[in-house]
Symmetry: C2
Subunit: 427 residues, 2 copies
């Protein structure tokens, strides 16, 4: 289908910076075919009047566990151990694949409504997460969380599952995969080496939780006499393209290793605050030129998958903690949440409003208090927007939300189902 | 007019904690007349079906400068001096009272849309701010910012203006007043003493910016050999009821002084981060039993007046900075944003969903992703809501927003005006 977004205000990247410009956007099938004058050979099937919209490339959520939205607001204000072992784990052990599907649909509903068009998801129930993303029309990069600490065989089974899932969705061009050893404290050295070998052999990028807590670092120093980053580097982990989530507690040498190996870092500011883990050294990584992107983490530790909130936190928290108002600009944050995310996920054909890229586009209602006056609309996205300005969402050239109504999700059924599921799980 | 909110889920305070309960809320004229069974003598003029709503008392924004929403996203990522003297001051000097009115209406639009029913406003153009609040149907506590550093007479003029404004709105029971010496660094000792005397004589509460920046503290130590708090205490400032905004840089003795004098502290987490001022010692003040409330500050340093965002930050930032997930709970934050705010503003008849209190009520759409599943809806308000869940707002018994449509503000005209104003001011 061809869509014309006519006479819209668009955020474009020109001459090394973001600008807003009134223009037309022509979408042909899945691709941005033209921006500016409407080509003579372009006949739209649908015309969207863009006059009152701000068009942006869709946001990219670079770390989440989407089925866990079932557990939103279930366990708050607790220590990490009480949160995980006392509250979340028992729920998780009772969660069925069908429950997980509805949790993932809930996440997709929240992400679409708040302007996210692509997400990456790590953990369990990956067939169900991939199916939810596909049914909701989202773009997703999926990875089965791989744990293998002992000889019990669980690690091998999980790897088998990961490859089955990859096989199941191999013909779906909105769903791609990474291999995700969960963390160094849930994978032994042998298992990590096996995964690295498979990743290189199958040319699959790697995704891992890294230096999320002080405890992870102190454990690694005790066990390996190395930081988690240095330990992974010693195994050759970073020879394969890697997305590392969290990276809160990094030494200067760790940062050098990440930079040298072109590792992308997914900052998860809200989750790191909520669980009392601290604040990642984003300004330093930014100065070094590391590819930084943003993740929400799950709704069990956020408690939302609204990336605009994490953009707000990313723009603000480093200024306050470092007592320096000039670090991490609005434009930096917008880049983290869009094109940097695409790079991190090896999706080079999205993340920018540019001819030839995939048509993953959000239209924000310019008649929203948070966007007025229109003094600086890139600043508005990082600083004042709350996500609810999102009016229309196009993913892969298909309209999945129009005038704030989800077209791929039955919301009434969704809310009925997730509440029924949690009534059962929390009994 | 009598309004019945029928069969709604309501956040009520019972047995020392917040609970949610399905119930009816009867509003008679401006007052909550009954919660629970509908009294026989109550005849509603309007019935709102509450089935899909979460009813809460409205939020209270305890520090802002509402006309400054004109400058939203105009000056970001700058040092405090470049921000204030390079960008904001020149705009402010060109701003007319009529411009300020539209800036304040923009703030009211954003506040109502995101569930705030009461705000307090300090700075200039107070006739216009009070008029905007009144026209929009909001409850507001207004205070002319009083500066008097020298003998030029400006301080006396500002005091005259303050009392004129009080006189102008003396018959309006939604608009009340405080006296607001701007800060210790913009008022000399004599002027402060004069204001304290007038405040005591007229029985007007006091409102002041306090210990917002490290520079303010170091200046006070140099000039008075005392911290700002100790200096004000030495003048007898706190003998009158006081709301102190910011309080980022407090010594242990300062906190003791604030507690001993029942000073309310308005935390402004986002503004303090954005301007690189730091993080207020909220957990310590909370442990001491200080009455903490929350302010957005202006949209020039936030960049939004959506109090849900500041609730999110308040619930999260102290956990991260102190690396302690158990400090400042969801329930604490909800209390800060409601009943504590009412106490701080001497509005003892609002801030709670309780029989006999003013009918300042917000209805949130339960069919929002951020509120689902309904695992813990008080947590939801502090952690996952972004404000856009607000569907219906009742202030002083009058419906000012219904089904997300503002009934007291012409939004099209508002956005046209504020953009036209900023085009002129920023030339």
């Amino acid at each position: 289908m061809n869509i014309l977004i006519k006479d819209t205000l668009a955020i474009l990247y020109e001459n090394g910076g973001y600008i807003t410009k009134r223009t037309n956007i022509c979408i042909k099938d899945k691709i941005i075919y033209a921006i500016g004058d409407i080509p003579e050979d372009f006949t739209p099937d649908e015309i969207i009047d863009g006059k009152n919209y701000l068009a942006s490339t869709g946001l990219i959520n670079c770390h989440t566990h989407s089925y866990m939205s079932l557990y939103r607001n279930f366990a708050d204000d607790l220590s990490f151990d009480d949160w995980l072992f006392g509250k979340i784990d028992p729920l998780e052990n009772r969660t069925t694949p069908d429950d997980a599907y509805w949790g993932a649909v809930l996440s997709c509903a929240e992400m679409i409504k708040t302007g996210t068009t692509t997400f990456t998801d790590m953990h369990m129930f990956k067939n169900m997460t991939a199916k939810a993303a596909d049914d909701c029309g989202m773009r997703a990069v999926i990875s089965r969380g791989l744990c293998g600490e002992d000889e019990s065989g669980g690690g091998a089974r999980r790897l088998d599952e990961a490859f089955e899932e990859i096989e199941n969705f191999k013909d779906n061009d909105r769903i791609s995969f990474m291999l995700a050893p969960h963390a160094i404290y849930t994978c032994n050295t042998e298992y990590l080496k096996k995964i690295i070998g498979l990743a290189i052999g199958e040319n699959l990028p790697l995704n891992i939780h890294l230096s999320e807590t002080r405890y992870e670092v102190s454990q690694a120093l005790e066990k390996y006499n190395m930081t988690p980053t240095k330990y992974l580097d010693s195994l050759g982990f970073f020879e394969q393209k890697t997305l590392a989530a969290h990276c809160v507690h990094l030494s200067d040498e760790d940062m050098e290793i990440l930079k040298r190996n072109n590792v992308s870092v997914a900052a998860n500011p809200i989750s790191n605050l909520k669980l009392g883990n601290g604040v990642a050294p984003v300004p330093k990584l930014l100065d070094m030129g590391v590819n930084i992107c943003i993740g929400t983490d799950s709704a069990a530790s956020n408690n939302s998958l609204n990336l605009f909130r994490d953009m707000n936190f990313t723009a603000l928290i480093h200024k306050g903690v470092n007592e320096k108002a000039q670090c991490v600009s609005a434009e930096d944050v917008y880049r983290f949440a869009t094109v940097n995310g695409a790079k991190a996920l090896s999706l080079d054909d999205t993340g920018e409003l540019k001819v030839g890229k995939k048509a993953d586009i959000i239209l924000l209602d310019l008649n929203s208090p948070s966007l007025n006056p229109h003094n600086n609309l890139v600043s508005a996205l990082s600083y004042s927007a709350n996500g609810s300005e999102t009016d229309t969402v196009i993913i892969d050239g298909k309209i999945v939300m129009r005038k704030k109504e989800l077209l791929t999700i039955d919301e009434e059924k969704l809310y009925f189902n997730v509440n029924k599921i949690m009534e059962r799980l929390s009994k």
